[in-house]
C-alpha cells in the first residue's frame, strides 16, 4: 500500500473513518439529528471527493479498481447512502434507533458496496461483499423488539452465511484452478490452461450461486420478500439498490475483461435469467404487500439485467449499467415514498392501505406512480430507456428469444405495478391521511423523480458517462 493508494482510497477513507468517528461521537452525544446530518455530510463528501479527486493509480493494491469505473459506483452508492440516511431520519427519531450505530453501519455498508463495485480480484470481491453484508445483517434487524425485523434479520443472516460458504469454497476452487485471485489472471489462466476447467467451472458456478443469492436470482431469491418486508423501508431500499447493484457492478466489472467465462456460462445464465424474470413476475402477481411486491419486482429486474450480461458485448454491459442506475433510482424512490408515508406506529405496507391515498397525498402518490411506471418500463421514464437498451443489446447479440421472454415478464410486471396504481387512484375509498413527511424525505423523492425523468428523456447523459467508465 502506497500513498498513492491512499489518495485513491480517499472516498472510502472518508466513509469508513467518518463512520468510525460518528460511532465515537455517539458514545458521548447520542442525539439523532446531528449524527444523521453528519452521516449525510460524510456520504456527500465522499461522493464529492470521488467525483473531483482523480485517482492516481489504476488499481489499488491489486484488489480494487482505481479508475473511473470504481469511482462511478462509489459516487452512486455514496449518494444512495446519503439518501437512505435522509429517509431514515424519522425512523431513527421515532423508533429510537441507536443513531450512531445506524449511521455508521449505513456508511460502512456504502464503503463495502463501493469497494465491491470496484473489486478487481476475488479477495477484493470477498472483502467488499462481506463488509456490507455484515453491516446489513445488523441493519435489517435494527429495529429492536420488532419481530418481523428480527425474523428478516435471521433469514438474511443464515442464508447469507450459507452463501458466504459457497462463495469461499468457490473462490478456493477458482484459485485452485488458476493460481491467482486477480480477475485478469484468473480468467487468463482459465482460458490458457484449459485443462483445469472442471474445478474452475465449479468454482465460478459456486461463486455465481453466492452472487445469485445476493441479487436474488431464482431459486436463490426466496429471502427477498421476507427480508424486504421485515426490514425498515430505508434499509430495504438500501438492500434493493446498493446491495444488489454493487454485486452486479462487480460482476459487470469482472466480466468486462473476461468474456470467455461468459461463453461457458452462457446457457446457464440464459436459463437463470429466464426463470428469474418469469418466476419473479408471476410471484409478484398475488402480493398484497407493497414491500413484498417490490421485492419480487427487484427479482424480475435482476433477471432482466442479467440479459445485458449474457449479451457479452459492450452494448450489453453499458445497457446493464444504465439499467442498474435507473433501477436503483426508481427502487430507492419507491422505498422512500413508503418511508415518507409511514409514521412511527407502522409502515405503509399493505396495498389496501394505499386505496384512495392518491387523492389524499397527490404529489407523493403521484411520484410513487411515476416511479412504479418507471420500474415497469413505461416511456418516457428512464425505465423504458433502460429496457430499451437491454433489449437492444439482446437482439443485437442474437438473443431475440431472451428479449421476447423479457417482454412477457414486462407484461406480467405491468399487471402488478398497475394494481398499486389502481389502488392509489382508482378506488373511491376515503383513505386516512398519512404522515406529512419531512422536507428531507421529500427532497429524496424529488431527486429520484427528476432523475427518472431526466434520464428517461435524455439518456445520452448517462450513456456517455458509461461509455467513459467502461474499461
Amino acid at each position: 500500500m502506497t500513498w498513492l493508494d491512499l489518495i485513491a482510497l480517499t472516498p472510502f477513507l472518508i466513509l469508513a473513518l467518518g463512520a468510525a468517528a460518528l460511532l465515537l461521537i455517539s458514545a458521548w452525544r447520542p442525539a439523532g439529528t446531528p449524527l444523521v446530518v453528519g452521516g449525510i455530510v460524510i456520504a456527500l463528501a465522499a461522493a464529492l471527493v470521488a467525483g473531483l479527486l482523480p485517482s492516481p493509480v489504476v488499481e489499488i493494491s491489486g484488489l480494487f479498481d482505481g479508475g473511473p469505473y470504481g469511482r462511478f459506483f462509489t459516487i452512486l452508492w455514496s449518494l444512495t447512502a446519503a439518501m437512505v440516511l435522509m429517509i431514515s431520519h424519522r425512523y431513527i427519531l421515532e423508533r429510537n434507533f441507536a443513531a450512531g450505530e445506524y449511521v455508521a453501519l449505513i456508511l460502512y455498508a456504502a464503503t463495502g458496496m463501493g469497494l465491491l463495485s470496484a473489486a478487481t480480484s476475488l479477495i477484493g470481491l470477498f472483502l467488499g461483499l462481506e463488509s456490507f453484508t455484515l453491516a446489513l445483517y445488523i441493519l435489517i434487524a435494527f429495529q429492536r423488539q420488532s419481530e418481523p425485523a428480527a425474523e428478516a434479520g435471521l433469514k438474511y443472516l443464515v442464508l447469507g452465511a450459507t452463501a458466504t460458504g459457497f462463495m469461499t469454497f468457490g473462490i478456493g476452487l477458482i484459485y485452485t484452478a488458476s493460481g491467482s485471485f486477480h480477475f485478469p489472471e484468473a480468467f487468463a489462466a482459465m482460458a490458457s490452461a484449459g485443462h483445469l476447467r472442471p474445478w474452475g467451472m465449479l468454482g465460478w458456478v459456486m461463486l455465481l450461486i453466492a452472487i445469485g443469492f445476493k441479487v436474488s436470482l431464482v431459486p436463490f431469491h426466496f429471502w427477498t420478500p421476507d427480508v424486504y418486508q421485515g426490514a425498515s423501508a430505508p434499509v430495504s431500499g438500501l438492500l434493493a439498490t446498493g446491495s444488489k447493484g454493487a454485486v452486479m457492478a462487480a460482476l459487470i466489472g469482472a466480466l468486462a475483461g473476461g468474456t470467455g467465462l461468459l461463453q461457458e456460462l452462457e446457457s446457464l445464465l440464459w436459463v437463470l435469467a429466464v426463470v428469474t424474470m418469469l418466476v419473479g413476475a408471476i410471484s409478484a402477481l398475488p402480493q398484497t404487500n407493497l414491500k413484498r411486491l417490490l421485492a419480487y419486482s427487484s427479482v424480475v429486474h435482476m433477471g432482466t439485467l442479467l440479459i445485458g450480461l449474457i449479451c457479452q458485448s459492450a452494448n450489453g454491459l453499458s445497457a446493464a449499467i444504465y439499467y442498474l442506475v435507473v433501477y436503483s433510482i426508481a427502487s430507492l424512490g419507491t422505498f422512500a415514498v413508503i418511508a415518507n408515508l409511514s409514521d412511527n406506529s407502522h409502515e405503509i405496507q399493505q396495498i389496501d392501505r394505499l386505496r384512495g391515498l392518491g387523492y389524499v397525498h397527490p404529489f407523493r402518490c403521484g411520484i410513487l406512480a411515476v416511479l412504479l411506471l418507471s420500474l415497469a418500463g413505461m416511456p418516457p421514464t428512464a425505465g423504458f430507456m433502460a429496457k430499451f437498451a437491454i433489449f437492444h443489446a439482446a437482439i443485437d447479440a442474437g438473443y431475440t428469444s431472451l428479449a421476447l421472454i423479457g417482454i412477457l415478464a414486462s407484461l406480467i410486471s405491468f399487471h402488478f405495478y398497475l394494481r398499486v396504481i389502481i389502488a392509489l387512484f382508482m378506488v373511491d375509498d376515503q383513505a386516512p391521511a398519512c404522515h406529512p413527511g419531512t422536507s428531507l424525505e421529500q427532497s429524496v423523492l424529488l431527486v429520484c423523480l427528476s432523475g427518472i425523468l431526466v434520464l428517461g428523456l435524455f439518456p445520452d447523459l448517462l450513456f456517455n458517462l458509461i461509455g467513459l467508465i467502461l474499461p
Binding site: 500500500m1 493508494d5 468510525a20 455508521a104 469497494l115 485443462h195 472442471p198
Partner: protein, 172 residues
Amino acid sequence: MATVLFYILSVVLLAATLLSITRRNPVHAVIYLVNGLFALAIIFYLLGAPLVAAWEVIIYAGAIMVLFMFIIMMLEMVPREPPAGPGWQRWGPVALISVTILFCTLLLITQDPDLAAQHGSPYMVPPREYGKALFGKYALAVQIVSFQLLFAAVGAYYVGKGDGASRRKEQS
C-alpha cells in the same frame, strides 16, 4: 508418512464432522467438531501452512467453538428429552440431496485431468514471508478486515445487548 497421516486425519476429520452434524445435543456436536477441527489443523500443517494450522486451533477450535459452547450453555439448549419418531423423515430427503450433490461434485472434481497432479517439493510457508505478505501486499485487506471486525463487534453488541432501548423508553 505424511501422506498416510493425511489420509488418516482426513478420515478422522470426516468422521468427526459427520458425528458432529448428526448430534441432537449441540454440546456434543461442538465437541465433535472441535475434534474435527484439530484434525483439520494438522492437515493444514501437513499441507505446508503452519501458521494457518495454529490459527485454526486458536481461533476456530479455541475462540469460536468456545463461543458456541458458551451461547449453548447460556441459552440452555440441551434438549431435555429425546424427540419422538425416527429422524429418517427429515434426514431421508436431506441425505438424498446431499449424496447427489456430493456425487456430482466429486464427479466434477475427478473429471479434472490434474486430479493426481502433485508438485514434487513440499511447500512450507515461513512465518516471516507470511507476515510480509500480510502487511505488505495485503495491508489494505487487513485494514478492511479490521474495519469489518470493528463493525461486527459494534453490531453484535447492539444486537446482543439487553433491552436498553426499551428501558430508556420506559424511563422517559
